[in-house]
């Protein structure tokens, strides 16, 4: 154990600035919000009761779930194509694909969302293109709707999904595929019988991350959507920074956190076998 001493500062940092703040948030969520951001430190479940009995917030919660599902459904197949291409490519082509994934992944989310704002706006290139080819006869506004938000979240999550899936694909022993081909499997059959089942842990891990991030999305719904598209995360932020009801906002944050942890726990139980297999 003594050899782990140099790791202590990092572990302490995560405890103090990650774990402790989460605990503080739990404590806040059990308090009572007074006006002007003041808090009465009592132990009450009122904030949670208030949340789960408010049809408005239940609707927001449902929307957040649906948004996560929609983004995962889009990201899983489309991201798979990119991860598969990355896995099968070599040399220069692999390098270029890598750059195409890492460049958007690293680029500031706000900057990319601003790019989408331009792309989808009535004065933007897509609207212009539609008019030029005669699909539309006036400016088209493609902003402020669910498809725009799903598109934005897809372009946010897909790079991470691709990298996670790719890291699982590289673990597949190429001999399995050779054997399948030797036994007369077509490319499609080899994919369905060998590659797909072996890559499933990557699909699930990447899909779960996509789901969690879309469920907890903040920037995309506020930039590409309207208040009716706001997720739970946006409402939690509103409660804390605008309305200044810190305990209620904290309770919403804890609800997001608990749901996130439950999803991750379900995944680890579901894929226990698959992970030891690797």
């Amino acid at each position: 154990m003594k050899y782990l001493v140099p790791a202590i500062p990092l572990v302490l940092f995560v405890i103090v600035f990650f774990l402790l703040p989460q605990i503080t948030m739990v404590r806040f969520s059990l308090g009572e919000g007074l006006t002007f951001g003041k808090i009465k430190y009592v132990f009450t479940m009122n904030n949670y009761v208030k949340f789960f009995t408010d049809p408005f917030y239940l609707r927001v919660l449902l929307n957040s779930f649906l948004l996560g599902t929609a983004v995962a459904i889009v990201t899983i197949p489309f991201g798979y194509v990119v991860a598969y291409a990355l896995w099968k490519s070599k040399g220069m082509k692999r390098k270029i694909l890598y750059i195409c994934i890492l460049f958007p992944l690293f680029t500031n989310l706000v900057v990319r969302l601003y790019g989408w704002r331009i792309m989808l706006s009535p004065a933007g290139p897509i609207s212009w293109f539609f008019q030029a080819v005669g699909i539309a006869d006036q400016n088209v506004n493609m902003l402020f709707n669910w498809p725009a938000i799903v598109l934005g979240l897809f372009s946010e999550c897909a790079p991470y999904y691709v990298l996670i899936l790719f890291s699982i694909l590289t673990l597949i022993n190429p001999r399995y595929l050779d054997v399948a081909y030797d036994l007369g499997a077509t490319t499609m059959k080899a994919f369905i019988k060998v590659t797909w089942p072996l890559s499933l842990p990557g699909v699930v891990a990447g899909g779960i991350l996509t789901y969690i991030w879309s469920f907890g999305a903040y920037a995309t719904p506020t930039i590409l959507g309207q208040p009716k598209h706001w997720t739970l995360a946006v409402h939690a932020e509103r409660q804390i920074l605008s309305i200044r009801d810190w305990p209620y906002g904290s309770a919403m944050g804890i609800i997001i956190l608990v749901i996130t942890l439950l999803i991750m726990y379900a995944q680890s139980r579901l894929f226990k076998g698959a992970q030891t297999f690797q």
């Binding site: 194509v81 500031n108 991470y160 903040y218």
Partner: protein
């Protein structure tokens, strides 16, 4: 039968489509930043490079840019000091406890970043640290730390342990071995990590949105507040400056350790 083949047309069309979706929002910024109008409209025929200069005449934007560099520098120093020794000791052995610590250190990037923002806001307000650059730097370290840690672990794992053994046989203690033998051998990995942490900090905004105060506002937050009200070539030009930081960072990381080795794997 339909074949899944990387040479098939259908596959490549889908691949091309996804790549266009990923890259077009960034490409459009470069194009619109040269637009010679104050507001955005398409198509356009007049080009100018004025917006790139105009940015520096706006003190608020300059201030936000400098703040971004300060926060990114603090984050980089903090991340490197915390992650290098931890990655070094944990790259040498695998045990149950090491795996647990790894999972714990990586946990901040597994949850929605909004959660780090909200909880740190509450926590730092209580201990009175909110008005300093460190507020955002701490949040960014939670974000960059796990990625740099995973990358550094992989870098240390590739060092042949025979040199460390030789140093110890010659009487060096653990710290001397690390400082005089292993660390110089991973110089390129360190350079890559410095750029990685710096880029990650300059490109993060959700955590910063919760933790900034007017004096410490950083560029992405400033863009966020402006984007909601106007689309203009000036913001495109500012965005391009941020994108240039990514490009420089990726080139340096690729030249030192290769971009394939950035540590997003390890599940997240």
């Amino acid at each position: 039968m339909e074949r899944i083949d990387i040479k098939s047309l259908g596959f490549n069309v889908v691949l091309g489509f996804v790549l266009v979706v990923l890259l077009s929002p960034i490409v459009i910024l470069f194009i619109t930043s040269f637009l010679d109008k104050t507001h955005l409209s398409w198509p356009f025929d007049a080009f100018t490079v004025n917006w790139y200069i105009e940015v520096f005449r706006r003190p608020l934007w300059v201030r936000a840019f400098i703040n971004s560099l300060i926060v990114a520098s603090l984050t980089t120093v903090l991340t490197l000091i915390l992650c290098t020794p931890a990655a070094y000791v944990m790259s040498k052995r695998r045990s149950r406890i090491v795996d647990m610590i790894r999972a714990f250190i990586s946990s901040p990037i597994m949850i929605p970043p909004v959660m780090i923002g909200i909880s740190l806001l509450i926590f730092l307000s209580r201990i009175g640290l909110r008005n300093s650059y460190f507020a955002i730097a701490f949040g960014h370290t939670l974000w960059a730390g796990p990625i740099v840690f995973i990358t550094m672990t992989a870098v240390f794992e590739r060092v042949n342990p025979i040199y460390a053994h030789a140093a110890q046989d010659l009487g060096a203690n653990g710290f001397q071995t690390f400082w005089k033998v292993t660390l110089p051998m991973v110089r390129s990995g360190l350079v890559a990590s410095i750029f990685l942490a710096f880029v990650l900090s300059t490109q993060e905004f959700i955590i910063a949105l919760f933790l900034y105060v007017p004096n410490t506002i950083i560029l992405p937050v400033m863009i966020y507040t402006s984007v909601r009200y106007e689309l203009s070539p000036v913001i495109s030009a500012i965005s391009v400056y941020l994108v240039l930081i990514v490009i420089v960072g990726l080139i340096v990381i690729d030249r030192t350790i290769g971009i394939e080795n950035i540590g997003f794997s390890g599940k997240g």
